[in-house]
């Protein structure tokens, strides 16, 4: 009974933390709505701050919705900007998509560059360096290929740069357009734990929280912290850039403008791989505070008595009750996000995006299952510090420092044997 009460207490702490996450999301999104009028005035005023921007998009492989994602950057309601699609190899399937987007928008300043760069271990940074070299403007926007933005995105984020004390602007992301089991889990996680944690850190803990999917900064600030080469061998280049800009005394802002991460056809394996990698990264960066993630997963904590103690009416009821609360909470966050998109983005643009506007509460019933999977994944970083990312195998060190970890000896034989068996049975 004592052990059960300990689990109840831990779950209660998790639920309280989750409550704070909801409050922080609500307050962030509410702040956006209050500022809509102000922003609209700003957007229409002749004094709008619209410095020319170089958008760098590192491309590697096909993301879901890639054509639309890339095209959304060509449709910005913004006076002067360039887009650089950067690839390591012209045989990459994303190359053809980038070329097509460029051909469709001949009036836009778009470059598609392919340059193999092996300067560091982080493949994304390797991809960014050649594009950064040719970027024309002082303001640099690093944006991942799997995000879809609305036409007012650039105006919304550059306005923060009017203040010279702001060093970096990042954005909140939300998952959308799920069509498979894996992508439902992914979007549930992005739209609850990830967005909640980012808002909580920003709102209550005042910690610089940077999401690499959208980072706007000045060249001179980036150069001051050592440029992209300073993060060539770390996995969490976004976190390190944000941290160093913060340390040099500049503000790191989390824009309330939501950007979409389209995840349509994910398999469960991709979901598990990504969150295992992210978990390892947070363990290496956060250290002991990584434990808070386990306690901050009330559903998983509430299911532990069922596994570790006994299956009884009370343990079952407890797990069901917590799951139900979590489902309701996630639905509420989903509604908040949807409302924000409707009011600030889609209606303004007169876009009839059925995927973004559809709200299916039944998908949220998978939320407890997702939390249980995430709870299990939480333990993996404690026993393994190796990740396979974009085809390379790395060992992660402190602050996500990467070192190459080729398959050798017995490991190599294990993989060879597995591959041989797979081929045989195929």
């Amino acid at each position: 009974m004592t052990l059960f009460l300990i689990f109840v207490c831990l779950t209660a702490i998790g639920l309280i933390a989750y409550g704070f996450q909801i409050l922080s999301i609500r307050s962030k999104l509410k702040a956006t709505n209050i500022k809509i009028k102000e922003a609209r005035q700003f957007l229409t005023s002749s004094e709008s701050f619209c410095p020319p921007v170089s958008i760098i998009k590192p491309l590697k492989g096909l993301d879901d919705n890639l054509f639309d994602n890339l095209e959304s950057f060509c449709l910005q309601d913004y006076p002067e900007y360039e887009i650089i699609f950067s690839l390591q190899d012209c045989n990459d399937p994303a190359y053809k998509v980038a070329r097509k987007v460029k051909e469709k928008h001949p009036d836009k300043d778009i470059s598609v560059i392919t340059e193999r760069c092996n300067i560091g271990l982080n493949p994304k940074v390797n991809n960014l360096i050649p594009a950064y070299k040719i970027a024309k403007y002082e303001h640099i926007l690093i944006s991942d290929s799997n995000v879809l933005v609305s036409s007012n995105y650039l105006k919304e984020i550059t306005k923060h740069m009017k203040d010279p004390s702001v060093g970096l602007v990042s954005n909140m992301i939300h998952g959308t357009s799920e069509r498979t089991f894996g992508s439902i889990l992914e979007n549930l996680h992005l739209n609850s734990f990830i967005i909640g944690s980012v808002c909580l850190l920003d709102k209550y803990l005042r910690m610089p929280c940077v999401i690499g999917k959208s980072m706007l900064m000045r060249k001179k600030d980036l150069e001051f912290i050592g440029g992209l080469k300073a993060v060539k061998d770390v996995l969490a280049e976004d976190y390190i850039i944000g941290k160093r800009i913060h340390e040099m005394g500049k503000k790191v802002i989390l824009s309330t403008h939501l950007i979409r991460n389209v995840n349509e056809y994910w398999g469960i394996k991709k979901f598990i791989n990504r969150h295992t990698r992210w978990g390892k990264l947070r363990w290496k960066i956060g250290g002991i505070s990584y434990i808070s993630e386990l306690i901050g997963n009330p559903v998983f904590m509430s299911f532990l008595p069922l596994i570790l103690l006994e299956v009884s009416k009370i343990t079952l009821f407890f797990a069901m009750f917590v799951s139900f609360v979590k489902i309701l909470g996630d639905i509420y966050i989903g509604k908040l996000i949807q409302k924000q998109i409707k009011t600030t983005q889609l209606i303004k643009q007169k876009i009839t995006d059925s995927d973004a506007l559809t709200f299916n509460p039944f998908r949220y019933f998978l939320s407890p299952l997702k939390d249980i999977i995430i709870g299990i994944i939480w333990f993996i970083p404690l026993v393994s510090n190796k990740v396979v990312w974009r085809g390379n195998r790395y060992k992660i060190g402190k602050d996500s420092q990467l070192s190459l970890c080729p398959d050798t000896g017995i490991l190599l034989w294990k993989y060879r044997l597995l591959n041989a068996l797979k081929t045989r049975f195929a």
């Binding site: 054509f67 639309d68 399937p93 051909e103 469709k104 498979t180 056809y265």
Partner: protein, 230 residues
Amino acid sequence: MLLCDFHIHTKYSDGSVELRKTVDLFGQAGFDVIAITDHVVNGDSSIGKIAHRFRFTVKEDNFNNYLSNIRQESERAWDKYGMLVIPGVEISKNYLSSDKSAHFLVLDIKEFIPANWSYEKIFLEAKKQNALIIACHPHHSSEITTRDTLFLWNNREKYSKYIDAWEIANRDDVFNVISLSKYPYIANSDFHKPKHIYSWKTLLNCEKNIVSIKQCIKHNKGVAITLFRN
């Protein structure tokens, strides 16, 4: 080179993705030419009857709707992605015996062709419609879940004159017999699920219009195959 896939199923037969979403999936991935080829299954065998019972086939009564929806999507795909969408069907003659079964694509189809007709009658009707005939997965396949369709290969001496090209590769399989026989070839995904997009594809060195594409396949010059992977 045009990146092409001429063998794609949608929810009109046994595919798992709706027509519009299928077109978007290929458009978003940068394809230049695709053909929508849902099954038209024979109803004169027990297996064929099952396909009819579970609506895994395009029928005469919904064929016009099928064709007009493909044409609508074709316009949208051209405007949005610069991608050509060709209407087609996969005539599927399914029997219990693999030796009796045959599947072949009819590309750029204009009017319904029943799968119950004899091979000659179907081929002649397809030729009358100026459509292209492609023999699908003509040899033994490695997939456990699919049944082989060997009739056309076993009777190639009789029917090869009607066939414009043979699938040398289908999804993950490569049929080296096509290469050895020096038949005209293309490679397709036989797309049923989103993951099938990563499979064998055709590259064509020709203009992006239906006439040039059909000629390119028929003459089999400027044709290459590639394993499309992410």
